[in-house]
């Protein structure tokens, strides 16, 4: 297998953009990534386009998005493929691109993740997101995504003593981090008291346990390490790319406080990289809900099982702590345009490893991990990145 690198990254600010078309968001992120690598004028060298998107049909009435993305970037003609894996849609797209470059199929692949959610009102958005659960066995019963993660949270509290304060501490930390990210959706510090007292969404989860409903796009240019060394930006190596699936319904998991897909995807990525959790300098994990960050840090092996909550309270996962998690602000503060999230995490990892993260820079960052979860954990991708 050939060594693979990210040669360019780009991202729209995440936010609420009802007036911007999907292709405008795609164009902004994709053209930034190509310009970052210094090949916007030579973009016909890109041989394939992968687009991660969860539900343009549900949010925007638009299927068949990949050729629209190719047109938006002046790449018409090349193979253009959309991947869908709920909120892990673009983590999957990136992994496909990395594997195709590693295997010698292509020299250069552009990956774009995109979602425009704010085209519907909240009940409609909740319904479309609910389509990532099982239609008959969960959604028809009245399950929503907050409700599924609320049941995980209640069980985690029951089994490990995780508290309301620990959940809210995740939100407070990620908002504090997001304040330092100019592209974050909600750059606003929140207090623990306010986070704990917010309106209930699905008990025990409240408004501040939930990530944001955002619009945006993110892009990464994937090529061989050799090729990337001749391009404009500092190349960042892809050290490992793991993916796994798990039961599509929570009721078929032996223990809903464990994300097996996270464990399996991480094992595969670590094995490829020849690394372990102790080698990771920082992680961008899928905090679609506060409890999801706690589960992720545990199942990735960054903290002991059951200790994800205390680790947040102790500051271990804060910028400056032992293992900084979601320094970008995470899905909670940076925002969560679901199909864009997987690549946006990679944009942050590349930015940190290049040393370009400004006042949220993690000193001495050498290995970055990104963790992108789909549904209630039925799909997961884990990627590892390092300086070349």
């Amino acid at each position: 297998m050939r060594e693979v690198a990210v040669a360019g990254v780009g991202m729209t600010p995440f936010g609420v953009y009802p007036e911007r078309r999907l292709e405008d968001l795609i164009h902004d992120a994709g053209s930034q990534a190509l310009a970052d690598a210094g090949i916007w004028e030579r973009r016909r060298e890109v041989e394939a386009l992968y687009v991660g998107n969860f539900s343009a049909e549900g949010f925007n009435g638009q299927n068949h998005l990949a050729p629209i993305a190719a047109r938006a970037l002046g790449l018409g003609g090349i193979p253009a493929t959309r991947t869908e894996g709920a909120c892990a849609s673009s983590g999957i797209a990136f992994r496909e691109a990395a594997l195709l470059v590693a295997g010698g199929v292509y020299e250069m692949v552009l990956v774009v993740g995109v979602e425009k959610m704010n085209a519907l009102e909240t009940p409609g958005i909740t319904r479309v997101l609910g389509e990532a659960a099982h239609a008959e066995e969960e959604a028809a019963v009245g399950a929503t995504f907050p409700s599924l993660f609320a049941m995980i949270a209640r069980r985690h509290m029951h089994q490990y003593g995780t508290t309301r304060e620990m959940l809210s501490a995740v939100a407070v930390k990620n908002h504090r981090h997001g304040l330092r990210n100019p592209r974050a959706h909600m750059r606003k510090e929140i207090t623990l008291e306010k986070a704990m007292a917010a309106a209930p969404i699905c008990e025990p989860l409240n408004l501040y346990d939930c990530s944001l409903i955002s619009d945006g796009a993110a892009a990464a240019l994937v090529t061989t390490l050799d090729r990337a060394r001749g391009l404009a930006a500092m190349p960042i190596r892809v050290l490992g790319a793991g993916q796994a699936s798990d039961a599509p319904c929570l009721h078929h998991k032996p223990d809903i406080t464990v994300s097996r897909a996270t464990r399996w995807a991480a094992e595969r990525a670590f094995a490829q990289a020849g690394l372990g959790p102790g080698d990771v300098s920082f992680a961008e994990v899928h905090d679609c809900f506060t409890i999801a960050e706690i589960l992720a840090t545990e199942d990735l092996g960054l903290v002991e099982k059951g200790k994800g909550g205390p680790a947040v309270l102790e500051g271990a996962t804060s910028l400056g702590g032992r293992i900084p998690v979601n320094v970008s602000g995470g899905l909670k503060s940076k925002g969560h345009p679901v199909g864009a999230t997987g690549v946006a995490q990679i944009v942050e990892a590349v930015t940190q490893l290049r040393g370009d993260a400004g006042d949220r820079q993690i000193e001495g960052a050498r290995v970055g991990l990104t963790h992108n979860l789909g549904g209630s954990g039925a799909t997961c991708t884990v990627h590892l990145f390092g300086r070349a």
């Binding site: 909240t122 009940p123 409609g124 909740t126 319904r127 609910g130 008959e136 066995e137 969960e138 959604a139 028809a140 019963v141 009245g142 399950a143 929503t144 907050p146 409700s147 609320a150 049941m151 995980i152 209640r154 069980r155 029951h158 309106a199 209930p200 969404i201 699905c202 008990e203 025990p204 989860l205 039961a247 319904c249 929570l250 009721h251 078929h252 032996p254 809903i256």
Partner: protein, 115 residues
Amino acid sequence: MAATTDGGIVIAGMRCGGCGLQSAPPQPVCPHCGGDREIGPVSLPPRGTLYSFTIVHVAPAGLEDEAPYVLGIVELEGGARITARVRTADPGALAIAAPLQLSEIRAGVCFFDPA
């Protein structure tokens, strides 16, 4: 999911002879071990305990009028779990492991009452 025997409601499920676990609904392979041999239909008992639950305040389009409602994962006697609704006048009194009794299956959705 509905079936009726001896005047009571039961839940249509399956048992996998390979791993020995019960589940619902019936399907061609076991959702636990992936095996497809020794799969057989079983009637699951209309009783169980609450494995986890939530009180849904923000409902999806189409269910707004029903909120707040209790959604739970119910572990039936014998071990199969299903996602179901729990009807109670006092959701604050619910707790993990609370005993439940199936009261109704409507449009494929199981509704339980505290036992």
